[in-house]
């Protein structure tokens, strides 16, 4: 099955790499930010870092739409950060299933991205049980990377 992994290029990428075993045997590709680190990934599309810039966010959304239409993944999995926002809303539009995994570094406080993608996520996971009450009923705790 084709799976699209969406994450920014630092710790969020490290987290998704920790979960790689789950994607074994599937055709997985990345949409992430361009950096010396991500250029070494196998199957990837590299975008400019969005940060908090709305213009780059709009450009990234267009690039992502093109990528998703070409690749037609059945599932998008993200560990954050803001790069997940356009991906998850486009996925809703294109009827692609989504899984969001809140960062392991988030013990008590939800991320801005988590709150924005929560309503459109098909599966929403947190890595600390004590973070559950900060989200709605849909949020689940199924363990952490470590």
């Amino acid at each position: 099955m084709k799976i699209c992994l969406v994450c920014s290029h630092g710790g969020h990428l490290t987290e998704i790499l920790q979960l790689q075993e789950a994607f074994e045997g599937h055709d997985a590709f990345f949409i992430t930010y361009d950096s010396v680190r991500t250029r070494q990934l196998d199957r990837k599309y590299l975008l400019r870092n969005i940060g908090t810039n709305p213009i780059i966010m709009a450009q990234a959304s267009l690039s992502m739409l093109r990528i998703l239409l070409r690749e037609k993944p059945k599932l998008i999995i993200s560990t954050g950060s803001e790069i997940a926002i356009p991906a998850f809303y486009l996925a809703k539009l294109l009827r692609i299933k989504t899984v969001f995994i809140e960062s392991w570094t988030r013990v008590d406080r939800p991320t801005g991205t988590g709150k924005i993608v929560y309503p459109v996520s098909d599966l929403f996971l947190v890595q600390w049980e004590r973070l559950l009450p900060k989200y709605g009923k849909k949020a689940k705790y199924e363990g952490a990377i470590l």
């Binding site: 920014s8 630092g10 490290t14 075993e21 789950a22 680190r37 870092n49 599932l75 392991w104 470590l146």
Partner: protein, 157 residues
Amino acid sequence: MIFVTVGMHTKGFDRLLKKMDEIAATSGEEVVMQIGHTNFRPQTAKWFDFTTEEGIKEWCKKARVVVTQPAMSILDAQEQNKPVIAVPRLQKYDEVIDDHQLDFARHLEKEGKVIAVYDVDKLEETLRRMDPKPMKLVRDKRLVNALRKYIELIERG
């Protein structure tokens, strides 16, 4: 050698790097820093802005201890069996968007997984006196299994 790494964060971490540069000057121990988007340029310590996955691995391997933020960089150190000192970025210094690194450091410290330093003025003493034991992190397979199950479910339609 002490390796300091502050990751890909778009905000700098001047407070940590300035203090570690001072320590490099006074202690005589070699300090190497990955400074990311920090504006401060170390005077004594050797530094670079970013490197590859392999690059980070190599520096962690060579180091006696890794000083970093409580974030995923602690795994790079742990994979090379190196002890970690975690210094949280704080919102009040505009080093991060909120104080989640403070929460995270407190939890990891409570579980005995890292040595957390909240005040950079305590770094020098901590580096001198620390027990050089690498931290133990145990892989939790539950999350991988939960993901696998969900992927199977989607695959079956």
